[in-house]
């Protein structure tokens, strides 16, 4: 559930709001409905990993990876660059990490404050 909600809410929010909105979304949702911290991390990470990977593929495939290949060269400062798929994975991992760590913080928040108040 946490996984689906982070994914869906981020998908909608990201059309209007800056990329970092994934952090508060993952945090708040995990603080509200998260369970074990490690599981929350996993849910947050995989939700955004999948969302970002899919979005990146949606843009790069019709582009025949033209831009991804160029950006790979920019980021590695080398003519060889990196395979475009690696850049998709890197993108997805970075987004996943931000959401994962935020969800983790949310889960710990719940552990620290949630039970006592409930």
């Amino acid at each position: 559930m946490l996984f689906i909600l982070i994914l869906l809410l981020s998908l909608i929010a990201q059309f209007f709001l800056p990329w970092w909105v994934i952090a508060p979304i993952a945090f708040i949702l995990a603080a509200w409905m998260g369970n074990k911290p490690s599981k929350s991390f996993g849910n947050g990470f995989s939700a955004i990993f999948i969302l970002w990977a899919c979005m990146a593929l949606l843009h790069t495939l019709p582009n025949e990876n033209l831009l991804a290949n160029r950006v790979g060269q920019v980021l590695t400062s080398s003519e060889k660059g990196m395979p475009w798929l690696l850049l998709v994975l890197l993108t997805a991992t970075l987004g996943g990490l931000v959401a994962g760590v935020s969800a983790l913080a949310g889960a710990y928040f719940k552990e620290a404050f949630g039970k006592r108040r409930r």
Binding site: Q14, F15, P18, W19, W20, A23, F27, P37, W52, M55, A56, L58, H59, T60, P62, N63, E64, N65, L66, L67, A68, R70, V71, G72, Q73, V74, S77, E79, G81, L90, T91, L94, G95, L97, V98, V101, S102, L104, A105, Y108, F109, E111, A112
Partner: protein, 813 residues
Amino acid sequence: MKMFKFLVTAVLALALTWSLNHKWGAVPPLGKFLDPFQGFWKNAESKNTATENALSLAGLKGEVTVQFDDQRIPHIFAENNHDVYYTQGYLTAKDRLWQMDFQTRFASGRLAEVIGPKAIEIDRFQRRMGMGFGAENMVNTMMQDPEVAELMNAYAEGVNAYIHSLKPGDYPIEFKLLDYAPEEWTPINSAYLLKLMSATLASSSNEFYMTNILEKYGPDIVKDLFPDYPLREDPIIPNGTAWNFKKVPVPSATTTTAPTATAGIKTKEKDEVIGSNNWAVSGSKTSTGLPMLENDPHLDLTLPSIWYQVQLVTKDMNVYGVSIPGAPGVIIGFNSKVAWGVTNVGSDVLDWYKISFKDQSHKEYLYNNQWKATKPRIESIQVRGSETITDTVYYTHHGPVVYLENQKPKNFNKAENIPSGYALRWIAHDGSNDVKTFYMLNKASNYADYRKALTYYTAPAQNFVFASMDNDIAITPNGYFPLKWKEQGKFLLDGNNPNDEWHGRIPADQNPTVKNPPRGFVSSANQFSADPSYPYYLHWEFSGYERAHRINKRLTVMTKATADSMRALQNDNYSVFAENVLANLSAGVNAQTLSAAEKKAFALVSSWNKFYNATEIGASIFEIWQKQLAKEIWSDEFGDQQNLMRYPSRDRMVELLLNEPNSKWFDKVNTTQKESKNDVVTASFKFAVDSLTKAYGPQSKQWQWGTVKNTHVPHLAKIAAFGSKTLFTGGSKTSINATSESNGPSWRMIVALGKDLKAYGVYPGGESGNPGSFYYDDMVDTWADGKLNELVYLRHTKQASDRIIATWKFTKK
């Protein structure tokens, strides 16, 4: 413990998010940049772009239809002037917004605002050169002309309509990489871009080196080695053309000696950065019986393309050609009745005046032996991530004192040829209405319209070639040419002496011009505008005559010329320079001193066909050989690192080689023995073989000229991955196809006038400025192969063409 875990992870989450939203040096904010919703992925364009689109835009007055052809070039059909320029602005911004922003920032000295402290010196330089002063004067002049004001404003409105439609995710990728946002466009930005053309084409200056040479060697040697007219020339206005006007009086020369230059600047061999050609051939020599016109303006090549192709159609205009991204109208192009093109005129429109300040406050300076007040101009340069810098520039009535004594930055090559303590008088500072010239040419229908249009043009001076359906051809080196005494500005000038100032201008209708000459064609290749019978002084030196001579020779023998014969000529790699000296140099090599490898190379180069084709190895050897030879001959006398000088021209070196074999200049003054001509010719030949061997191994295919030359098109901000690959092409400075490493034909165009007009063109890039678009560099290979695309010239909105791939409708909101 739980509290602790929460705090640690919360801090970690915040830190991670923050650091991925922060720009670290040259590294963009990675989270923001990689975000597939609004980051760079969004700039990846699909191969299939929208075929139908309807937009309603505030500010439009009527309806506009835009047809896009298969290279995404827009053909704009509007009901009125305002809407056509509005839409030109809108679509240019859509394709080239970052380029427009970045070049404006570069011209106006505002790069540091977005790239930080490393751009401070270049910003300071642009401002001290008076770019802002010039652009302000220009926009003031333009805005006083209601017609021009309308199109400048309409264009800006269109650009802004596009900018306002953008969300950060829609910004061009370079904004995301450099992490900044586009800002509102104003007409002064267009003025900056036009002034940038002057900075590129009309800002070279040698007076400082020449003054040092005069001091060291005296007037006789200057006269001998740096003459006021070359020994070999083929001027734009054919020799013997009569001047049908009454010359206005020119004051006599100042006889006192020129002021002395200050030392401390590194010398640099003047590089010929321009290699543009244009010509028009009369119907008597073409297959169609009507004129054909060619133009290939050469510039430092960049991606996104320097030019933006567009067709603009209203009730009283139907023009096609290339525009400057950021300025309204078409600069080089054609309509159904006329075609025109431009190459640069190397006239002297920039001079330096020695200023004597009263004291260190720089408030007053001496003019005509009286104290006159300076006007300080405060420039404030905002710097990203650092404090704003203020810089005071003192303006005299001549112009700004670019660097006061001891103010010039060291190791900043743009400032190398600028004398400290001198005021700059430069045509680019004057208010001007050059846009009007192009606006009138866009609507011109005959020779009279062309002549009228040219009177509004100031700078950078251009050779305007022209052809019309009335079977008229013409060429006019045109612009504001200051009225000067002979050699005025060849050396540094005295800011105190009124006789050293410009004495007004050569009357516009007395600029050199020729219409329908008997030879049946007109042409230019940056050479001298006219022979010495022209009664005014324009400059003592222009680009070498070799390209022009080759063009004229080929056009002379051409009959029934077709567009394809023009195309072959614009790609001609033959070198008249090599023709002049190769046999002479080969005869000068001491064959018995050569090694086996050198003998092999020598056999090859001495039988070389003098074409700088990509596959020629002889071209590679000859090119390095002659370059080194110039160095061997001149560097000992003119390479002084204290008192900066420059070498004599290529023309003078040719004369030395052919007709003065015993000249003292061959001897190296810093050695004890006496070197002969053959000694330096041999030594420089060996140098050429040696350096090719070092770089490419023993003689092989690797020595081919196309490999050695290494032509490529770099990205405007030098982002390597956004530049072109290496292109295997021919060409040289002394060939019509004057393509060098990253300088060359920025646009090639051929127009065959006629009821069924045919036009062809290509630039080394594409219509889009987005490196994530298939239209970013789709023309590069065509360009490198020396081929052209047929241009789609639509006569009316509904004209069917299988090359049209999309139609957009714009309506008012």
